[in-house]
Subunit: 210 residues, 2 copies
Amino acid sequence: MSAVGKVVSIGKCDGNSPRERIVAAASELFYRHGIRAVGVETIAEAAKTNKMTLYRHFSSKDELVAEYLRQLADKSTSAWARREAEHPGDPLGQVRAWLQETAARVTKGDERGCALANAAVELPEKDHPARRVIETFKAGQRARLIQLCAAAGLEEPELLAEELFLLLEGARVTAQSMGPRGLDERLLRMGERMIRAHTRCDGAAGPLQQ
Amino acid sequence: MSAVGKVVSIGKCDGNSPRERIVAAASELFYRHGIRAVGVETIAEAAKTNKMTLYRHFSSKDELVAEYLRQLADKSTSAWARREAEHPGDPLGQVRAWLQETAARVTKGDERGCALANAAVELPEKDHPARRVIETFKAGQRARLIQLCAAAGLEEPELLAEELFLLLEGARVTAQSMGPRGLDERLLRMGERMIRAHTRCDGAAGPLQQ
DNA sequence: CACAGGTGTTACCGGTCAGTAACTAAACCC
DNA sequence: GGGTTTAGTTACTGACCGGTAACACCTGTG
């Protein structure tokens, strides 16, 4: 059935504390091969440590999984903060930046979709510690998008935000079963079209560039 | 890490030949719990048979997985045939029917997304026998949608088909991490809006009901 | 009746899984 | 220095994994 076993080293897993190396190694392996396909022993070795140390920092593999997802959620949060800093007072610009960055990521070779969404597929048990993280993250993501669409003065912001959200979520999952096939530029066209369809004709949302 | 083990019986797994029961049991268990989470022994027991008989019909678990996905792909194909029979000469009607059926399914309680897409998440190995099935299926689905949009005389049929495809694919995957939350009616609104946006103003696509 | 093919049963293989015990070595802090 | 915390090492548990061997059975069909 295939497993992973014996991964000698992993990029940036050699700095800092064992704990950080463990999470870094787990992130890489979980994302690339799937959570259930990777054993704790493999993770420990890739992190240049051992299973005992891993279990001194995480009470179970499931907790390590939760931490892996938690850190990804944090990264997403800081990405939104960065976009806000790059487009201060311009919510539509922030949405566009998110659109562009995500579309670009979809077509990158090593893309395997949203790690949180993938985890939800792999871990259907509703009481798994990872599920709280996943649900909170997705709800926050959606709320942020709605808030930005509303702040941009677009019509029916909830509907637009959901359209954009589902579009990109669909693109990320589809890229795994069909490959990217130049999806990124089409995604941008679709996104812009959706935004335009929600723009008041009186120009309240400001002029649309391009 | 949680597994499945000991599933006494499974709905319609008690008819016909052992082979059919095995595939039926595997379908249920793979979809509900994930492919890697279910062992062959569990499948055999749920199918009221044993591991040896399973391996007399399938050379490996991976081959059983491929057959599981193949049968689902076939069901999808016959669903398209049914829609064609229900809306003869009306490609837009077929697209709308697909939209409605899929939207309705997304919000059903036992929904766990597209089984083929989930399998792609769980089985990233590019040489896995299931991947051929998945890629062929998704490409066919997309092609059919494009062909219908084109036959309906809609503008930029490829782009519209892809929008609809990604929208529903995103909805199915999102439902797993956020729950349905009345997504179905919103999906229909979004879909109709997209179709309308691709409808020529000269009415070449026929009048839009509602 | 004989024979054949599909099925059931049991026991087994080697390997891997998550998780732990007991002990040693190193780093740290006062 | 001494004591504490953290990390590494080895070996282990019990369970489960996918897959197989050998043999008994049962139900057809000629």
